[in-house]
């Protein structure tokens, strides 16, 4: 059976890692890029083959058949009495969709990177890490237990950290890397605790044993587990309040932003919640948390994106906002819609980032959209593909984003979540506004380029344009795998994923046709309003933006600073922790040593026996601490004895 060879999918990137890590230094630069890209292309080809194999299988498990689900044993990772972790691959519609998206987008971005990173010094290191990332991401989505998922989870975090800090000579990059890692550790901490709790509750960490048994556990435990898992998801997928690392993560090379911080890694949280939806459904309050956090994140991040000047920051906040959409869908029980949006978002956001990278490439690294303008003529191919990305992101009808966003919004509405739906609707308008704002400001109008920069403007090489063009095709056409139900054709992606979510207890009755059309109409209106407003402000009345900003200065500043989330963290957590650390180091280190050193000075003056006194002094302190420790322990025992009597 061909499906049993699924291990080839992660094996190719791993081979790429090993080759480039150990031989990369001696290989020609182009060969390094070629090996890395080929590894991912091969991996994608394998995933595609398996996908078509799977289509040939019966969708439902019947007559003893496993349907489209298959567990492929790889090896026994940990066998220790009752604690068994098999490192197996779980192949089912959900994991193959994820594998396809991950390898497909990765392949294109690898090829793009060959051009984008051509001049970089640590070329082989970049491609090694990029391949390692794909490998870890595949472990994450293909593993059949919480622990294998956790391995991939930490692995992608590590790669993300390394790649954000790729230009580590820049202090901001090194800091951004550290920030991303630390914030992610907060989430990982939730995930780790959640997994421990799962093991304590179910006695296993395999999906196959935990998820079917989910309904049998008390709701309180389920809520705790689900919220801990969601903490992990929020960290990785940059949901409020753990979103602060993603805008800074833009310090990494742009293809990295496209791949890791837009298309794949940040969607890991969405994947996890979808995968473990059985646990979330036991506790409706956990699902509600997911939905509300998602809706709020979508809305707030979109408002921040409205005013950013840095093209990559707009896209970063947009990513946070779009991930919010996905969590909104998950919380409303529209799992397939979330995965659908995950896929289309990977296409169009990946495309937009590559476009931004192409612009930077052409403009010697310029990021401020107000220092661009008129790029439409100078970078025709970048403009065309970027335009498609913007249309898809905005949710203009007939582009992919339109269909997936529709699926989410109608899912939310039919799930009875009216307020989140409304937030989503408003966000759709905001999204269209900021997407077109970038387009109009950067690509239309008059050129505001630096004279020096302007002379060197050039369209990117074909090795970058072709992946963008391919992604543009996907960003347009990707939506047609999930047509709205009201058209009567049925959503292909929803049907394909149906077996995975068959156990869902949240029933969605399809609304009446008129209602569906009304919902679609409303969001089209919102999108149109957003586009028109952007056109009115940034094309028709250039300069109006400045006046508007002046009249609402405070609001503008607030949004521009991302509602001061960074400062809040700084003041509420980082500073106190630092003070605590310094205090403790002070108490243990500086104070005792300082005092001792100062004491030496005095003692030398007094007795001339400084060193000896210094030593006995310190040892005496140490001994005193030991003595107090003994007293405390004995006091406990004695008190315990006395009290128990």
């Amino acid at each position: 059976m061909l499906l049993d060879y699924v291990w080839l999918i992660p094996l190719f990137p791993l081979a790429g890692v090993l080759i480039n890590a150990f031989l990369g230094r001696w290989l020609p630069r182009r060969l390094v890029a070629a090996i890395a890209s080929l590894a991912i292309v091969a991996s994608f080809a394998m995933a595609a083959v398996l996908f078509f194999q799977m289509l040939g299988l019966p969708a439902e498990a019947e007559g003893g058949g496993a349907g489209r689900q298959r567990i492929v044993p790889i090896f026994s990772w940990i066998v220790s009495g009752d604690f068994v972790v098999e490192a197996n691959i779980l192949l089912d519609p959900l994991s193959i969709v994820m594998a396809l998206v991950v390898t497909g987008v990765s392949a294109l971005i690898h090829i793009y990177s060959a051009g984008y990173m051509a001049g970089e010094e640590y070329h082989n290191r970049y491609f090694t890490w990029l391949n390692l990332f794909v490998f870890m991401m595949l472990i994450l989505v293909l593993g059949d237990s919480f622990l294998t998922m956790y391995v991939g989870w930490e692995g992608v975090g590590l790669c993300s950290y390394l790649l954000i800090g790729y230009w580590f000579e820049r202090e901001s990059a090194a800091n951004a890397a550290k920030k991303a890692f630390l914030v992610n550790r907060v989430g990982d901490f939730g995930l780790a605790l959640g997994i421990m709790l799962i093991f304590a509750t179910f006695g296993s960490v395999a999906f196959g044993q935990v998820l079917p048994a989910a309904a049998s556990i008390p709701a309180g435990t389920a809520t705790a587990i689900a919220l801990l898992l969601f903490l992990g998801a929020a960290g990785k997928s940059a949901q409020i309040p753990l979103h602060v690392w993603l805008p800074d993560a833009m310090e990494g090379p742009t293809p990295v932003s496209a791949l890791i911080h837009a298309a794949t890694m940040v969607t890991a949280g969405v994947y996890m919640v979808a995968r473990t939806h059985a646990l979330f459904e036991v506790s409706l309050s956990a699902l509600n948390w997911v939905m509300w956090i998602g809706a709020l994140t979508a809305f707030l991040a979109a408002t921040v994106a409205l005013v950013q000047k840095d093209i990559k920051r707009v896209l970063a906040y947009s990513t946070i906002s779009q991930l919010g959409y996905m969590f909104l869908a998950l919380g409303a029980g529209a799992y397939a819609a979330a995965i659908f949006h995950l896929a289309t978002h990977a296409f169009f956001k990946g495309l937009l980032f590559l476009g931004a990278g192409s612009v930077m490439h052409a403009l010697s690294g310029e990021l401020d959209i107000f220092k661009m303008g008129e790029l439409r003529k100078k970078l025709p191919w970048t403009f065309r593909t970027f335009l498609i990305g913007v249309l898809a992101l905005s949710g203009v009808p007939f582009f992919s984003g339109f269909f997936s966003k529709e699926a989410i919004l109608s899912g939310a509405f039919e799930g009875g979540a009216i307020v989140p739906w409304l937030l989503g609707l408003v966000t759709a308008g905001l999204t269209a506004f900021y997407a077109f704002r970038v387009l109009f400001v950067a690509f239309y109008g008059k050129s505001r380029l630096d004279k020096k920069v302007e002379r060197h403007v050039h369209e990117s090489p074909w090795v970058m344009i072709v992946p963008m063009a391919l992604l543009a095709v996907l960003a347009f056409a990707g939506g047609y795998i999930g047509l709205p139900r009201v058209l009567g054709i049925g959503s292909a992606v929803e049907e394909f994923l149906a077996p995975v979510f068959a156990d869902s207890t949240l029933v969605h009755t399809a609304g009446e046709a008129t209602l569906e059309w009304l919902l679609i109409g409303l969001s089209v209106v919102a999108v149109a309003a957003g586009i028109l407003a952007a056109w009115w402000i940034y094309v028709r009345n250039w300069g109006l933006a400045g006046r508007l900003t002046q009249s609402a200065r405070r609001l503008y500043d607030l949004a521009f600073a991302g509602y001061h989330a960074d400062r809040a963290y700084m003041e509420a957590i980082v500073q106190p922790l630092r003070m605590l650390g310094e205090g403790l180091a002070g108490a243990v280190e500086q104070r005792s040593i300082d005092r001792a050193v100062n004491g030496v000075g005095e003692l030398v003056g007094l007795a001339g026996e400084g060193l000896r006194r210094l030593q006995t002094g310190l040892v005496r302190n140490y001994a005193l601490a030991m003595f107090l420790g003994v007293v405390a322990i004995l006091a406990y025992f004695v008190l315990r004895g006395v009290l128990s009597w």
């Binding site: 391995v151 580590f168 040892v619 030991m626």
Partner: protein
């Protein structure tokens, strides 16, 4: 009257005897060979350690207590023997070039190293308060001297004196605890104490106070808060290879005896002591990690880190169940590789600085990846493993002990542990960042790294990767060892 001598079951203590004989052999050989040949002593010592390791493994299926209930070669002792011998073997490999560079007297160095190793192994095998104390003193006195062996370095002498004075203080507590226990139980045999504990319905106060004092005594050896204050000074002042050895070996031995006393002799009073251990564990990991955060000297940072690790390992003991015990054993085994390995890199880095005392600060490690990629990769692995990043050995070790704590009902302790791991990631990663992401200055002394050290580092690095990916065999051994102790 006839006095029948105990049948001397050589086989039971064969590994210990081999190490002791090797120690004497090194001493004798040191007397007869010329100065330029002293380097060969290391190989004699290494052969002895490896032979002892092979014997330990060969003895595996366990045997009866030997020497009038003084020592046992059960799975528990043998497993810990392996961890101790790993530390000793690595330390010898790391010392090959270092002893010469720093100017340590090699004959004494290896003799004391082996004697101390023998003391640690005896401590793991001891099933009587007398032997526990004797073993502790054998290992401690050897270590006191080893710490101060670098006579050219003032910090070394200072460290030795501090360690000695406080160690004697701690031994006093230990001995007094033993005396109280003997007073109540009327025997020094752990089996007898166990029987005495089981006999009395109410736990006797003398026994509990005695146990408390013993916890303090062992707590000093494994560096539990508040008995840990000597650690940074001593680890920093001692010759680095000695630090590598003692940071692992002495901890393993201390935990070995503490485990036997608490879990076996006082197993029935678990409800009484587990809270003490749990609180000590939480305190130890927190203080260790917070103090490590702002260290720029790597030896000092690793000293605090080793305090934190004692806290993690203690969580397995506090859990009080079989899983926790095997988790503790696995933890110590994994820790032997990653911690000794980390110190080895410091030894290697010192080589490029020429004089002694260099290569210890974070700045010395800046850009190491460009200068010595192999060392940098190994160091990154050690740091990540110490931080508990999967899929390395340190991750699984933490998973086992914290998992056991959760099972033992100490969920809060597991939470403490995980939070602490998060904090610790900061200072471990700082080293990685420094090696990979900062510009370094070229080596002061462009010298090759000693081959023996390279082998040792490579072995340790491979071991932590293998233990992480394929821990099955070792985990099984640890389980058997835990059952040997807990009975079952």
């Amino acid at each position: 009257m006839e006095i029948s001598l105990p049948t001397f079951d050589f086989l039971v203590v064969a590994p210990e005897i081999v190490v002791l004989i090797t120690a004497l052999l090194v001493m004798v050989v040191d007397m007869v060979i010329g100065r330029e040949q002293k380097g060969r002593l290391a190989w004699v010592a290494l052969v002895g350690v490896l032979a002892a390791g092979a014997l330990s493994y060969y003895l595996w299926d366990g045997s009866d207590p030997a020497l009038h209930d003084m020592l046992a070669a059960d799975g528990y002792a043998l497993f810990l023997n392996l961890a101790i011998l790993v530390a000793a073997a690595l330390a010898i490999l790391f010392s090959l070039e270092y002893t010469g560079r720093v100017g340590l007297a090699q004959g004494e160095y290896y003799t004391l190293l082996l004697l101390s190793t023998a003391g640690m192994m005896l401590m793991a095998a001891a099933i009587n308060l007398m032997t526990i104390f004797l073993a502790l003193e054998i290992l401690s006195i050897s270590l006191y001297v080893l710490v101060g062996l670098n006579r050219a370095e003032r910090r070394s002498a200072e460290a030795a004196l501090k360690y000695f004075v406080l160690g004697a203080f701690a031994s006093g507590f230990l001995l007094y605890g033993m005396a109280l226990i003997y007073g109540q139980a009327g025997t020094t045999s752990l089996a007898g104490i166990r029987a005495a504990v089981q006999a009395g319905g109410e736990p006797s106060a003398l026994l509990l106070v005695g146990l408390g004092l013993m916890i303090a005594g062992f707590g000093f050896k494994v560096a539990l808060v508040p008995f840990q204050m000597w650690t940074p000074d001593v680890y920093q002042g001692a010759p680095t290879s000695v630090t590598a050895f003692m940071s692992v070996g002495a901890k393993v031995a201390g935990f070995a005896a503490l485990g036997r006393v608490a879990l076996y002799a006082f197993g029935d009073l678990q409800g009484d002591w587990r809270w003490v251990l749990a609180v000590l564990s939480a305190l130890t990991m927190t203080v260790g990690n917070l103090a490590a955060l702002r260290q720029a000297n790597l030896k000092r940072m690793l000293a605090y880190s080793s305090i934190a690790h004692a806290g993690y390992a203690l969580a397995g003991l506090a859990a009080g169940n079989a899983q926790g015990t095997s988790g503790l054993l696995f933890y110590l085994f994994a820790y032997a590789f990653m911690n000794a390995g980390a110190f080895a890199i410091i030894i290697a880095a010192g080589r490029f600085e020429g004089a002694t005392g260099g290569g210890e600060t974070l700045d010395d490690f800046a850009g190491l990846a460009a200068r010595k990629p192999g060392l940098a990769v190994a160091m990154a692995l050690f740091m990540l493993s110490l931080a508990g990043v999967p899929p390395l050995a340190g991750f699984l070790a933490k998973l086992y002990v914290f998992g056991a704590a959760v099972r033992g009902g100490l969920i809060w302790l597991a939470v403490f542990g995980v939070v602490n791991s998060v904090i610790s990631a900061y200072y471990y990663l700082r080293v990685v960042v420094s090696m990979y992401m900062r510009e370094g200055r070229p080596a002061a002394v462009p010298a090759p790294v000693c081959a023996g050290l390279q082998v040792g580092v490579a072995l340790a690095a491979v071991a932590i990767v293998l233990l992480g990916l394929w821990p099955g065999p070792i985990v099984d051994l640890a389980r058997v060892a835990a059952l040997a102790l807990l009975g079952g």
